[in-house]
């Protein structure tokens, strides 16, 4: 059993909160630069150019890429041979607290969904745990803005609706979202599981590197097809018209019941932030 001090986790989460908000991941940058090159609608190309300028300023000035520094989604893969010395949940939330106040990030969390008083430290984080073999802890910190979160949807389709039904649902969700989620967007799709699991799959899909091709050729083709369809909509960057409506579509699936076909679409904006560390 490997012993791990809670403070180490707090430090890591603190630093990851600041880094995620100020430095856009390389895979997202590459994708935006690539789309900027390929976009030939003048106004859309200009918007993409300004997004590049924006993330460069953010990195240089060490300030947030976007003012919505989000609610902090944290994914923890806990090796079953790790023993955390202290309270793991509290260690993560303390990291968020420190990161958000010391990093001059925005406090965007209310303590109760109806009474709506700001917690003023951006806690609690939305934490998901998976237990895995080994004695390491892998933490992913992904601040999530709500412009795109609010446009996300899930549905319980009938199995007979099949692949066409899933496509229709994904495309309709993107169409309905229009300019609200700050296009160009990243589209995370979950298919299968249960009502609860499918939403989590969609969110985890957003953590996949944008430049990695799905290892299942069937789903690689499915993702490409969806991306082509979305980018023929003409919504474009900012919603002012253009090719680049989405940067990528990422799909994750899991087994499901014979009677069901759950699907969830979690939208993310071009500020697709996430940082991972193995401790």
């Amino acid at each position: 059993m490997r012993q791990l001090q809670a403070e180490i986790i707090t430090d890591a989460v603190r630093n990851m909160c600041i880094e995620a908000n100020c430095i856009l991941p390389d895979d997202v940058r590459k994708c935006i630069v690539d789309c900027h090159q390929k976009e030939n609608w003048t106004s859309a190309k200009e918007s993409l150019g300004k997004l590049i300028e924006n993330y460069e300023i953010a990195e240089r000035e060490h300030m947030p890429i976007c003012q919505d520094t989000g609610v902090v989604c944290v994914f923890v893969e806990v090796g079953q041979d790790v023993h955390v010395m202290g309270d793991l949940n509290e260690a993560i939330n303390e990291g968020v607290r420190q990161g958000y106040s010391e990093g001059y990030l925005r406090m965007s969390v209310v303590a109760d969904p109806l009474r709506r008083v700001n917690t003023n430290d951006n806690t609690p984080a939305m934490i998901h745990y998976d237990v895995i073999p080994g004695d390491k802890l892998e933490i992913t910190v992904a601040p999530k803005g709500f412009g795109s979160e609010n446009m996300s949807k899930s549905a319980m389709l009938k199995p007979s609706e099949g692949i066409e039904g899933v496509k229709r649902f994904v495309l309709q969700t993107v169409e309905d979202a229009g300019a609200n989620p700050c296009p160009p967007i990243v589209v995370g799709v979950g298919i299968g599981g249960t009502f609860d699991k499918v939403a989590l799959l969609a969110k985890k899909a957003l953590m996949q590197p944008l430049d990695e091709i799905n290892s299942d050729p069937f789903y690689a083709g499915f993702e490409d097809g969806l991306l082509d369809s979305i980018n023929s909509f003409g919504i474009g960057p900012q919603g002012f018209g253009g090719k680049t409506t989405a940067l990528a579509v990422k799909v994750l699936t899991m087994p499901t019941h014979i009677a069901g076909l759950p699907v969830a679409v979690n939208l993310n904006c071009h500020v697709a932030r996430h940082v991972s560390r193995i401790i």
Partner: protein
């Protein structure tokens, strides 16, 4: 593409001179307000109490900035989704508001009020809070300090880059811009945008 340089106050003359799709460089005063501040302003209107700033020919910027670091005027300050304010907006427009800066679609009720009273909906580049912060030269909380990032701030901006999304005739760039692009793709022309 037409670039128009304008200054506040956003008078009705300026409003009627702006067209959907125009690029605008805005200088002058704008007030920040988002969900919670709107709720309070509408309560004030209902109770016949004064608003925290003069709404006549004013511009509201839908933004909740990040805190300023030492030496900064303001932190990142890009637009939030305007549609959440739709329910409050017609009352503010009829009270004199003549401009809004945000991102995302507006309701038919908002567009109706814009056409009736004369108002402009400007878009700022969504997700470009670091870039947009650079055209803000001063920031001062003028009301609802307890709301933190949602407090009303008076901002002085200089050459803030905006696009007219909806003009006072109801023309809408979300519809027109997209149709124009799709039309051009159909015709096989891809390198042009109007004007």
């Amino acid at each position: 593409m037409t670039v128009k340089t304008i200054s506040t106050p956003l008078t009705k003359d300026i409003v009627s001179s702006l067209d959907c799709g125009d690029t605008v460089l805005l200088s002058g005063t704008v007030y920040t307000a988002r969900d919670a501040a709107h709720t309070r302003m509408i309560e004030s209107i209902k109770q016949d109490k004064p608003l925290p700033f003069s709404i006549e020919n004013a511009i509201i910027y839908y933004v909740g900035p990040t805190p300023a670091k030492p030496g900064q005027v303001i932190g990142s300050a890009g637009p939030t989704t305007s549609g959440r304010m739709d329910i409050f907006t017609p009352d503010l427009i009829s009270a004199g508001l003549s401009g809004m800066i945000g991102k995302g679609v507006r309701s038919a009720e908002v567009i109706d009020a814009m056409c009736t009273y004369g108002a402009i909906y400007f878009g700022a580049l969504g997700g470009a809070g670091a870039l947009l912060s650079q055209c803000i030269v001063s920031s001062e909380v003028v009301a609802y300090d307890d709301l933190g990032t949602e407090a009303i701030r008076k901002l002085e901006v200089k050459n803030m880059p905006l696009t007219v999304i909806i003009d006072s005739k109801g023309n809408n760039l979300y519809i027109n811009g997209r149709n124009e692009y799709i039309g051009a793709v159909k015709e096989g022309v891809q390198c042009r945008r109007k004007g």
